[in-house]
């Protein structure tokens, strides 16, 4: 088979997200337009500029992890393993199956195990007192927190994978890029099954402080439920979130052979970098537009074929305008016709993980034919003048959807998903 014949499809979805346990609760939250943002409880946020976040009510033991797994894994690792198990159960696949070398793992994460790393730092440095930290207080799994690759390792061990295992860390496009990497592995013939997704658990003092320092996160501390306001004129920064989505991505023919149910096919993806600034975005959206254009080209689709866009929609003025410009630039008139929404309005911005949660949302949207809304969008920014689906979910006929991401470092990624058999030239 040539690469174009090896098609990558999603056959299982697992999610650990703010506002509920698992995939179904996640979808309920999104379609109800409910926000999961609140005052931070995972640490005492007093003294921080931004004190709100979208937290997961996550009990690792109740979620099925063993006490040793809980001890060994940072919160981000716990999320990923729980999401991966749900995805595998959902797809009905037996892993690693007959050929473990054909099973791969591709997990994205922007900040890795920094929550665990910071907790241990506080102990070893005795509250920051010692530059020469005290090694005698080091826990056995400390190095596992130092390297983000641990997150992929944990998922790979769950699956018994012996194929390529990668941790992709491209800031806030990590989730999309990790899924894109999985598609590459399937198309080039290296793997038949990939557990792909992303995880981040950035709700810790150091990560909050670093976003405080650049005033990227909201200071709307008095009204946490309405603090994440993508595309709204009253937005004042993004709201941090956490979570993980992992998907079972399979080569279409082998998925068919085992009678798997397909959520969606990944029809095209592309990444571009703006090579402009580590955090800044040019208002013209040029590189994101180019990523969208190439993703459509690889999917052999036209702008008119896109029925829904899951936006990056972080809720910073800079991003929302950049993105609006990118949609207009790449999709022309279609940008004004197609519904677009940002689920970060409900589950916050979980950095590298968010791309995987957004692709999971796209897969669920295609299955249920419902567009999740942009919560809190009541007074649109006049410069964000597209159909950003305010407040209420919308039933909508969708065959193909676009999801985009934008990250620190200048990364811009676009991915096109279609209903099963919604590829170019096939009846949807």
């Amino acid at each position: 088979m040539t690469p174009a014949d090896r098609r990558a499809v999603i056959t299982g979805v697992g999610a650990v997200a703010p506002g509920g346990h698992g995939r179904e609760a996640y979808w309920d939250l999104l379609t109800a337009g409910r926000t999961a943002t609140r005052r931070i409880s995972l640490f005492d946020p007093a003294g921080f500029r931004s004190r709100v976040a979208a937290e997961c009510d996550f009990d690792p033991l109740a979620a099925g992890l063993t006490p040793q797994e809980v001890r060994r894994m940072d919160r981000a690792g716990q999320f990923a393993v729980v999401a991966a198990r749900e995805a595998v159960a959902d797809s009905g696949i037996e892993l690693p199956g007959a050929d473990p070398e054909r099973v791969a793992v591709s997990i994205g994460s922007a900040v890795g195990c920094t929550t665990g790393l910071e907790e241990e730092y506080a102990v070893l440095s005795d509250g920051g007192r010692h530059w020469l930290v005290d090694h005698s207080y080091g826990v056995p799994h400390l190095y596992g927190h130092m390297v983000p690759s641990t997150l992929a390792v944990e998922v790979a061990r769950q699956a018994g994978a012996e194929g390529p295992v990668a941790l992709i860390s491209t800031g806030c496009t990590s989730g999309l890029d990790a899924i894109g990497h999985a598609v590459q592995l399937i198309e080039e013939g290296t793997a038949d099954v990939v557990l792909a997704g992303a995880t981040d658990a950035p709700l810790s003092p150091i990560t909050s402080a670093c976003f405080d320092a650049i005033k990227a996160t909201t200071a709307n501390n008095d009204d946490p439920e309405h603090a994440s306001r993508p595309f709204d004129g009253r937005r004042d920064g993004f709201v941090l979130g956490e979570g993980s989505a992992v998907m079972v991505i399979e080569e279409l023919e082998s998925a068919r052979r085992r009678g798997a149910t397909v959520y969606a096919e990944i029809l095209g993806f592309a990444g571009r970098s703006n090579a402009f600034h580590m955090t800044g975005l040019k208002p013209d959206g040029r590189e994101m537009a180019e990523a969208i254009r190439v993703a459509l080209d690889r999917a052999r689709l036209d702008p008119g074929d896109i029925d829904y866009i899951n936006a990056h929609g972080s809720g910073t003025k800079q991003n929302d305008r950049h993105e609006t410009a990118a949609f207009k630039r790449s999709l022309g008139q279609r940008a004004r016709e197609v519904p677009i929404s940002s689920i970060k309005s409900m589950i916050g911005h979980s950095l590298g993980a968010i791309g995987s949660l957004e692709i999971a949302a796209c897969a669920l949207a295609l299955r249920h034919q419902v567009v999740p809304p942009t919560a809190n969008l009541s007074t649109p920014d006049p410069e964000c003048d597209l159909d950003y689906v305010p407040v209420t979910a919308r039933e909508h006929r969708m065959d193909r959807v676009l999801s985009v991401g934008s990250g620190f470092g200048g990364f811009q990624t676009a991915m096109v998903l279609g209903r099963p058999s919604a590829r170019h030239g096939e009846a949807a």
Binding site: A213, I214, K215, M278, G280
Partner: protein
């Protein structure tokens, strides 16, 4: 209450955001050269604000200093804040 001079501004910029090889912070035109032309971007100005706030014990509302274009304007702005803080 400490004074805040152009030398303080230079010192903080050097320590926090570095200096490009082609930039001369000690040149005659430093005070009136746009931050952008000195090689300082939005992050550099945010870090400048953070450090001035900590060192001089004043609060600088979001975006205020970023709206100044040059060291001379930033200096005038910080002087105003320091005078207010003295009242």
């Amino acid at each position: 209450m400490p004074e805040f001079t152009l030398d303080d501004l230079r010192r903080i910029l050097r320590a926090s955001a570095g200096v490009d090889e082609q930039t001369d912070l000690d040149g005659d035109h430093f005070a009136d050269t746009a931050f952008a032309d000195l090689g300082y971007d939005s992050l550099a100005l945010l870090e400048l604000v953070n450090r001035i706030e900590r060192e001089y014990g004043i609060q600088i509302p979001d975006g205020d200093l970023a709206h100044t274009q040059s060291p001379a304007e930033a200096l005038a702005y910080v002087h105003t804040r320091l005078r207010e803080a003295r009242v």
